[in-house]
Structure formats: C-alpha cells, structure tokens
Amino acid sequence: MNLLDSTPANNSLLNSAMGSERTQYPYVTGTSVIGIKYKDGILMVADMGGSYGSTLRYKSVERLKSIGKHSLLGASGEISDFQEILRYLDELILYDNMWDDGNSLGPKEVHSYLTRVMYNRRNKFNPLWNSLVLGGVKNGQKYLGMVSMIGVHFEDNHVATGFGNHLARPILRDEWNENLSYEDGVKLLEKCMRVLLYRDRSAVNKLQVWFFSLYVSLGLSSGYFASPSQSSSSKWTHE
C-alpha cells in the first residue's frame, strides 16, 4: 500500500521501492489553452509549442485531442502527463464502446472522470501536472469545463489555462456573447492568441484550432474539424 505520510528519514527507501511520490517538477510544458462556447458549439485553441524550461524546444506538439464522439480535450502543463491522461481516456472510451449499446460518454462524464483522476493523484502527492479544458456537445447540449492539477473543476462559457486566464479572459469577458458565429468566434480567439504571443514568453505562433459543432454538413448530428495549424501574424509597429 502507499504510505504517503512517511517521515523524511524513510523517504529514500520508500521512493526507490515504489517510485517517486513527491511533488514533481514539469519538464516539457505547453502554455495556455482557450475554450469558448459559440452559437453552434465549442471552439478551442492552443498553440503547438512545447517548452523545455525557457527554451521553445518543440514546435509541433498537438495539445488538443478529441475524446470519444462528443468531447475535446486541451491541456497545458507537462506534456508527458497529458499523454498519460490520453491513455486513461483511451481505455475509458474503449470500454464504453465495448458496451455497444445506445449510450456513450459525453463531455460531462469525461469531465467528471478527469476531475476524479486529478484529485486522487493530488491527494497522493503525485499530481498530473496539467490544467485541462474539456469541451463538447451531446444531444444538442454544449458543455465547457476546466480541471486544474489539484482537482479544482468548474464549467463556464469561456475558460482558459495559465497565462490565458490573465490575458485572454478579460478580453473574453468584454467581447464574448452567446450567439457568436463560427467566424466571429475564431476571430475572437485569434485576438486572444495574438496578445498571448506578444506577452507570454512560452507562446509560439503556430496554432491548433478545433471546433466542435452541433451541425456538420456531412449529415452527422455532431462532429469536429481540426483546421490545419495556422500561423498568426504579428504586428510590432505602433497602432
């Protein structure tokens, strides 16, 4: 069993026997993820950078992934922990599909599951060092939520992680409304990402934009498209 409240003297012995159970330090990290609800569903954006400390080392990291038929997951923080989370979710979705009945796990269920995982890991002093944004549409209902690495979770109309909370959310608070069209939503998100590119040292100018919509022209009741990664332009002259 896990003996978390061991005294420091015994720590080294336990650590070597059972793997480290102390708070980790993140190594390769992703920066902000921003998600908003728009008229037809969910829009999420994240850049494709993986920083190794202060170096912008990896420039093609996909930090947004689709989960099952109904959800999108975006993560900031330690990339390897994100990959671990994707493995958990893979298994979850696999078992869900194996039931082969009319039911499927929607974004709310995935969000709840992730909250449990994050909170339990935090309780064992072995957190998954991520802030997660979970969005999706099921049965016409839009869902957007966030889970932090300590298990704090909530739902909202627009969420962001990391620097996005400080730089993007004020913009969203002013300019978000319920009936944003897809184009307007993307424009709004690009505006936020431009500010982040200017001011966040770990931001890169290659973006991943995913939308999860109620209506897709292929006749599915819901679907998602990843637009090819775009580079945002930057303007350094005075307005």
Partner: protein, 296 residues
C-alpha cells in the same frame, strides 16, 4: 421437476444439458408473490402484491428504489433481493460519483446478469445466512474498481430472486427482467411470481397500446393486472404497492391513499361501463373471474 442425481450441485450438468440447481432457483421466483411491470415511451410502472405472514405483521418490501432513475421489483427469496438491491444501489452511486451522470439501465442490468454467473457468495453461519457486500477499492492511478470480497467457509448458490428492473436512460424508458439463470430480457410488460400467468394474459391483450399510454393509463393497467393475480380477492391499496418512474419524475412509490382513490375511481367507471354495454369493446378489460387461467 423431480429430484434426481444431477441436482445436488450447481456445478453439475445433467446428461440432457441442464443445470437443475439453476432451474430450481427459477422455481423459487415462481413461488414468490406477484410483481408486474409495464412501460410506455416515457414512463415505467412497477406493481407488486403485498404478502404478509400474518394479519399482525407488516408486509415484505418488494419494490426498491435503486437510484432516482431506476427501481426494481422482486419476487422470490426477498433476502437475496435485498442484497442485490444493495449491489445495484452501490453500482449506481459509484457511477454517479465518478461520472456525475446516471448509470444507464441497460448497463446495470448486464452487470447484474454477469454477477449471476459468478453468484453471490453466501456465508452460512449456523442457521442464518448473510449476504456479502461489495467494497470499493481505489487503484494507484486514482481509478475506482469494484471488488467482491469473498469470505472463508462459503459456498455458492444461484440467487433465488427474479428482478423487474425499471429505469430511464438516454434512449428512453426500459423494463428488464433479470432471472437467476443470469439471463436478462427487455420487455414491454411482464409479470413474475405466483399466479402471474393471469396478469400476463391481461398484459398480452393490451401491451400494444402501452407505448403511447399516459402515466395514468399505465398505472390503471398495472392495477388491473394485479387484480388478475388476486383471483377474486378484493383489490385494495393495502394489498398492493405501485411505483412509477418517468421523464421528469424520479422513481417513487405512490402513496397508499392515492392508490385507493385510483382503485375506487376505476371501480365506479367499470360498473358504469358494464351497465352501458353488454359486449365490451376490444379494449375493455375482462371482468369474469372464472375465466382466469390456472395457477402456475
């Protein structure tokens, strides 16, 4: 069914390919007092006949709420039924906790049926039997697993109770029957227990209308079906329990007073109808008690 040399163990096959212990377990279901269920597109109604040991005692509880959206009615060894209800409630609540959403009935029923294949371990101490509970174990990565803890000096037997599981999920209202053999079936309407054949006959006549029935009509049909199993005994609210679950209505047992009022309103309506027409229309219910088929 007669005693034979292949029926001592649940693990012994007969030459004809039968597991007699399982079949005997299903007999136990037939001996219990009746329970019926029927469903429409949006509601499911469960009803049971209350059996009391004597006039002095209260009747056994046969209908259990498992979650806001699921309830069960049992027939057979009610002790087993209680243990199973506890398991069902446990499964539902664990799912709700992890996923913050209700467990789909179809999945609960499959889990219960699978459990019958690995039957409940019953600890026998002296002359009493105790069912074994289910414990929650947290895995290292934070996921929850369910494990059944077995106790020493136990042997297995099939559980001796049939369950009518009524519930709502994404795909609508459902009624399932779980039997001790580990099989489960979905039904539009069904009856189990003693004299259930009479109720089944009534339900067979009317089941095609159930999908479109209103809540009140469903309850009325449930009460009439219960009446059929009573073989002439007077139907009062003290002799039956009715529960309903539906869209926008969590599973609840309807209180006695409301049932009594419903029964009385049906009876006055019936008398008027019988006076009004000699031959009933095809949808009218059959009132001749001597027409009820024989007991199981």
């Amino acid at each position: 069914m007669f005693r034979n040399q292949y029926d001592t163990d649940v693990t012994t096959w007969s030459p004809a390919g039968r597991l007699f212990q399982v079949e005997y377990a299903m007999e136990a279901v037939k001996q219990g007092s009746a329970a019926i269920g029927l469903r429409s597109k949006t509601h499911v109604v469960l009803a049971s006949v209350n059996k009391a040991n004597s006039e002095l005692s209260s009747h056994q509880k046969k209908i259990f709420k498992v979650d806001d959206h699921i309830g069960v009615a049992i027939s057979g060894l009610t002790a087993d039924g209680r243990v199973i209800s506890r398991y069902l409630r446990s499964e539902c609540i664990n799912h709700s906790f992890t996923y913050e959403s209700p467990l789909p009935v179809g999945r609960l029923v499959v889990q219960l049926a699978d459990k019958a294949q690995f039957p409940l371990e019953i600890l026998n101490v002296g002359h009493k039997s105790f069912g074994v509970g289910v414990f929650l174990i947290v895995e290292a990565d934070g996921r929850f697993l369910l494990d059944q803890v077995c106790t020493q000096r136990s042997w297995k037997r099939p559980y001796g109770v049939g369950l009518l599981v009524a519930g709502l999920d994404e795909s609508g209202a459902h009624l399932y029957y779980n039997c001790p053999s580990g099989n489960y079936f979905e039904y539009q309407a069904f009856a189990i227990g003693s004299r259930s054949q009479a109720a089944k006959t009534y339900l067979e006549r009317k089941f095609e209308t159930f999908m479109g029935s209103s809540r009140e009509d469903l309850i009325r049909d449930a009460l009439f079906a219960i009446k059929e199993t009573l073989q002439g005994e007077k139907l009062t609210s003290s002799i039956c329990t009715v529960a309903v679950v539906g869209v926008g209505e969590p599973f609840n047992i309807i209180n006695q007073k409301t049932i009594q009022e419903l029964i009385e309103s049906f009876e006055t309506k019936e008398e008027e109808v019988v006076e009004a027409a000699d031959q009933g229309a095809a949808m009218q219910e059959d009132r001749s008690p001597e027409g009820a088929p024989m007991d199981i």
